[in-house]
Symmetry: C2
Subunit: 233 residues, 2 copies
């Protein structure tokens, strides 16, 4: 399934779907609130490519259009991040650790959002949404509220006269914690076992990298059973 020039996209919301816990819950959240969604994932050469399969599976479960955009030609220019460069080790630890800087992919959200905005113009979509949340703020500057505000202003000016009326870039979880997101499962029954977080991208979640640490903590704090199979107990 592809979105392309599908006229049924008019008024729909393009969701940046990484295949992770946050964006997958976001899809369920938007559907529950009456949005029609189109999923867009990005292949930027991330070593944890399993997340793309997870996004595909969720699209199939929900029977919603899904498109994987090939940005590998850009990804190869961004060596130096542990997420795209085999020579950089994925750090263990917590998002608040200085070592987590190695997991930043420069300008990633702006790039993905700008592709989605371009497609939104072409297909008359009413919104673009992504799963940034409060836990991301410590390390990822492009997940902070001030970025979302500035990006909206820039995107609207860049496409003034061409965007659907009322168009907006949405980040509904922007001020929530990952535990808050996990708690939404009680309402939406999100298939968390089909979501992928681990930056190491092995057969199972490693359980110790930054995003595994954050994932485990979220389930613990939320008091919800974690269906994830981790390498490290």
């Amino acid at each position: 399934m592809t979105v392309s020039l599908d006229t049924g996209s008019a008024g729909a919301t393009i969701v940046i779907a990484s295949g992770g816990l946050d964006s997958t819950t976001l899809i369920y959240h938007l559907l529950a609130h009456g949005s029609r969604v189109r999923l867009m994932s990005f292949d930027y050469g991330q070593l944890h490519r399993r997340e793309l399969d997870c996004a595909r599976q969720v699209a199939e479960i929900l029977q919603v259009p899904h498109q994987v955009v090939d940005l590998r030609a850009v990804g190869v220019l961004l060596s130096g991040s542990a997420l795209t460069d085999l020579t950089v080790a994925v750090p263990d630890g917590h998002y608040t650790d200085e070592s987590m800087r190695a997991t930043v992919v420069p300008n990633r959200n702006a790039l993905m959002l700008d592709v989605a905005v371009a497609v939104a113009v072409t297909t008359h979509c009413g919104a673009v949404a992504f799963g940034a949340h409060g836990g991301d703020h410590a390390i990822y500057p492009d997940c902070r509220p001030e970025f979302v505000v500035a990006f909206n202003a820039s995107a609207r000016l860049a496409n003034e006269g061409f965007l659907a009326s009322g168009f907006s870039v949405l980040a509904p979880f922007l001020l929530q914690s990952k535990a808050d997101i996990v708690r939404l499962d009680a309402t939406y029954e999100v298939p968390f076992e089909r979501t992928w977080s681990c930056y190491r991208g092995g057969a199972r979640h490693c359980g110790t990298c930054g995003t595994c640490t954050e994932r485990r903590e979220a389930f613990q704090v939320a008091g919800i059973a974690d269906p994830t199979s981790y390498e490290a107990a």
Copy 2:
């Protein structure tokens, strides 16, 4: 030649080089003002692909690094523009004509600038520059001063803590006319005959599409001999 992780890029300026008259003059302008430049061109499936060859030739003449980034996977999603879609006719006329809306590629400048900003972070470049000018304002919303201001704010927030000190997205010709740009030739001796404007991308410039019309006018207004060979007299 490629930029990649060339440490010599630290402090350099990445110039979005379309192969057209404006961005080519911009390269000479920046070099004349002491900048070290890296050229970045984009293949987004534009039908006037000859412009990419022009960018390559200028890079060779100047012996500066040049990189063509393949964004065709994004371009195919943006059907509906006369610049990427064979089924949409390239309109004749002037930039101020309503028909010129067909030549807009949605969000193109934000996308190209985003890639350049990401590479600037990775390679420690000090600036990104592009050739937007006053004549573009009428039709291309992503060439207006308000966009450049908003994009700068967004890009800095998206990459706070990772950008080179004093980093900026520059558009030195933003308030100048295309005739003003042509007049710079007296100082820089830009090889205008190696630049490409025509949206039709034939063997010669058509002479009647929006950008050919604007190119011809610029030389006439500047009172400088136009070295371009046009199909239509």
